[in-house]
């Protein structure tokens, strides 16, 4: 089955009491779901990662490309530079194309 993956992050920061860390949550949803299901059901959009926010460096978090590089996992993806978060899907995405808008 062809399963497009919709993933995104928003500006909501998650404050964790221990360590005073802040994170950007990353959510994921299969593109196969209808828009109505995606908005109505809790399972349609699930968190898969919490990205740490490097402090006092806004530009470090602002660039998507930098984040992709930051989280790239060499063992899993070799030259592909697929983010570690998506690396379990590597066998099914033999040649990922990353683009930033």
């Amino acid at each position: 089955m062809f399963v497009p993956v919709i993933a995104g992050s928003d500006k909501t920061t998650v404050s964790v009491a221990t360590g005073h860390q802040e994170y950007h949550p990353v959510y994921m949803s299969p593109g196969n779901l209808t828009n109505i299901a995606r908005r109505a059901h809790g399972n349609a959009l699930l968190p898969v990662a919490f990205l740490p926010i490097p402090k006092s460096t806004p530009y470090a978090t602002s660039s998507l490309h930098e984040l992709m590089y930051f989280y790239s996992n060499k063992e899993a993806s070799e030259n592909c530079k697929l983010p570690k978060i998506l690396s379990p899907n590597v066998p099914f995405v033999p040649c990922p194309r990353l683009s930033a808008t």
Partner: protein
């Protein structure tokens, strides 16, 4: 008269071998989370009474740590004469057991990560040198979990499709109805595809268009 929208090539469920399933086929039984201790359904608690104790104090009455400590002391005192002991020493141990509960079948893991790209000459920025915690889980398992949600049975498009309204005008509603998804999965016939499904449809001026749909179908995927 209003005609319902016509959906072209909506797709049909198939099994792992690519064979079409009869309509209304029930899903395979859930595999359930991988349990660390298969003989103990109350894991990480040792028994039902321990789970009920934690559920009562933490969820139902939401007792303070001090009151939980007292309840644990009473438990310990009541079984001491038989050589027993309470499962926890204090509330913090009970909290640790609650934190060890595994929700769903995709556990969260924490990775220590740091920037591994090229560094500028001179003193690099602090964030390039520091180690951060990345909290993530198996995104593929999450996708499987989402796709196997029974409530999505009639709210899922298992193949790219095209939709036209009663006037014959193309309409778009979901991601799988758009050109991007169609272009990813639908190609003119090509021998390089592994699994193909040939669909013929009458085209204009008596020609017949033959499309090949490639199902990118992991062998262990579940419909």
């Amino acid at each position: 008269m209003i005609y319902p929208d016509l959906v072209l090539m909506p797709g049909r469920p198939c099994n792992e071998q690519g064979e079409y399933l009869p309509p209304h086929t029930p899903p395979p039984p859930p595999t359930g989370p991988a349990e660390a201790e298969p003989h103990n359904p109350w894991s990480p608690f040792d028994s039902r009474i321990e789970f009920d104790f934690a559920h009562y104090h933490f969820v139902e009455v939401q007792n303070s740590a001090g009151k939980i400590n007292k309840a644990i002391d009473l438990w310990a005192a009541s079984v001491m004469e038989y050589g027993g002991d309470a499962p926890w020493k204090d509330a913090s141990e009970l909290y640790a057991t609650i934190d060890a509960i595994q929700e769903g079948d995709s556990p969260w893991k924490v990775y220590q990560i740091r920037y591994q790209g090229p560094r500028p000459p001179g003193t690099p920025p602090k964030w390039m040198m520091e180690t951060y915690e990345l909290c993530t889980r198996d995104s593929r398992q999450v996708l499987h979990h989402q796709l196997s949600t029974a409530a999505f049975k009639d709210k899922i498009n298992i193949a790219p499709y095209r939709q036209v309204n009663s006037k014959g005008v193309r309409t778009w509603s979901n991601l799988m109805s758009a050109d991007w998804a169609w272009k990813q999965a639908v190609r003119h016939m090509s021998p390089k595809f592994i699994k193909t499904n040939i669909i013929s449809s009458p085209g204009q001026d008596r020609r017949r268009c033959v499309y090949t749909r490639c199902y990118v179908c992991p062998s262990d995927s579940r419909q």
